[in-house]
Symmetry: C2
Subunit: 234 residues, 2 copies
């Protein structure tokens, strides 16, 4: 008999927050929950951790079972453990999140799954504390984006400034003045103007730009001046 045997064991679940950028807006992947309580309601992709799998393995398996997606690199986010968060039984949930380039992943979502992409600007009400999980993932994304080139990794090789502005606005949950955004992003010296214009999304057309990757890697801090102070959301 040791101190372990007197303890209460708890259900441990994982929930996955999957964001995607489709070139124009940020999206979130949701599923219709397949079990009671709240059956049929929209939810993050979640499931229980099995006795012999690590948390990462549980996250990968759950995402695959519910959406068909495989080989998605997910990062652990935060563990939610309020005693009443699941009305059936206390469940501690470890969350994982990923940010996908939808151009690469869209094909894998088959109709046999009840999963669907929604705009991050407007998605259905979620069960339990799942909205709080989504907000935590948005906050982490803002934070990471201020130190990593992740936002640029989502853009196609050639992109327009309106496209970049839309991505920044979705990530920072802010709206930027068009002329100011234009001026500031040009002044970072990180973009290389192309001679071609995108004429699909506006009649006047918008020049394409490429990221100067070398300069970006050496001087990624200059992008910080573009964004709201990340301290505000932590």
């Amino acid at each position: 008999m040791n101190r372990y045997s007197k303890q209460t064991r708890l259900l441990v679940a994982i929930d996955c927050i999957i964001f995607g950028f489709d070139g124009n807006e940020m999206k979130i992947l949701l599923v219709q929950r397949g079990m009671v309580p709240e059956k049929g309601k929209w939810s993050l992709m979640g499931g229980f951790v099995q006795p012999d799998e690590s948390l990462e393995e549980a996250a990968a398996r759950t995402l695959n079972e519910l959406t068909g997606l495989g080989n998605v690199y997910m990062e652990q986010l935060h563990t939610f453990g309020m005693p009443e968060r699941d009305p059936i039984e206390r469940t501690v949930s470890v969350t994982y999140f990923a940010l996908l380039d939808l151009a690469k992943y869209k094909v894998q979502l088959s109709s046999e799954f009840q999963a669907e992409w929604f705009p991050l600007k407007k998605f259905p009400r979620l069960i339990f504390d799942h909205s709080e999980m989504v907000q935590a993932a948005r906050d982490r994304l803002k934070y990471k984006a201020s130190l990593h080139p992740i936002l640029f990794e989502l853009l196609p090789e050639k992109f327009t400034i309106p496209q970049l502005q839309s991505l920044f606005e979705d990530v920072y949950q802010a709206s930027f003045d068009k002329r100011n955004f234009n001026r500031k992003i040009i002044s970072t010296g990180l973009l290389i103007k192309q001679s071609e214009k995108d004429r699909i999304n506006s009649r006047k057309g918008a020049f394409f730009f490429k990221l100067d990757k070398k300069t970006y890697r050496e001087n990624f801090h200059s992008i910080l001046r573009m964004i709201p102070n990340p301290n505000d959301s932590i």
Copy 2:
């Protein structure tokens, strides 16, 4: 009968990583473990989550029971869940960390507890995966320090550049050339030189500086140029 009832419940623990800065070096708080396995070995402050408490409450209670420290703001770090991490029984551990100004907290550590501060440069071998937890906390600290004024919050109102260099070296696990560090930190424009010198730690003496808090808040990015690229450690 629902899908919940078929699941395996797991032990859920919390472990606390407490760093402190005493004006000269970074320290870590450890306890001698009071139960088998590994009884008597050095360990982080840990315990099991009880049925009715949140994870934050479990962390605060555990820290208080093992060290006497109260009112410590701890931040959730990462959840460790490898099936074999605890040899007695699978235990998922949610870690919390804090960075204390030791000048404020030292008094509370009474001798009735088996807790002790060790230099972060050299501390005893820890049980289980606790060294990995400490490394995760160090990485988070580096990351946060690049976006937040937390390092300056640890320094006394007046500090010397050697003191600041020692703090940076402990946090970034790097050693900086003294003259370069001096030049770079002065060039940030964030420090205000005082007329007094600290003559305790060297015969020649080192001028005291104060942080220009207003400039720091407006221009905290300039400190980024001082530090190794945080991408490297993520």
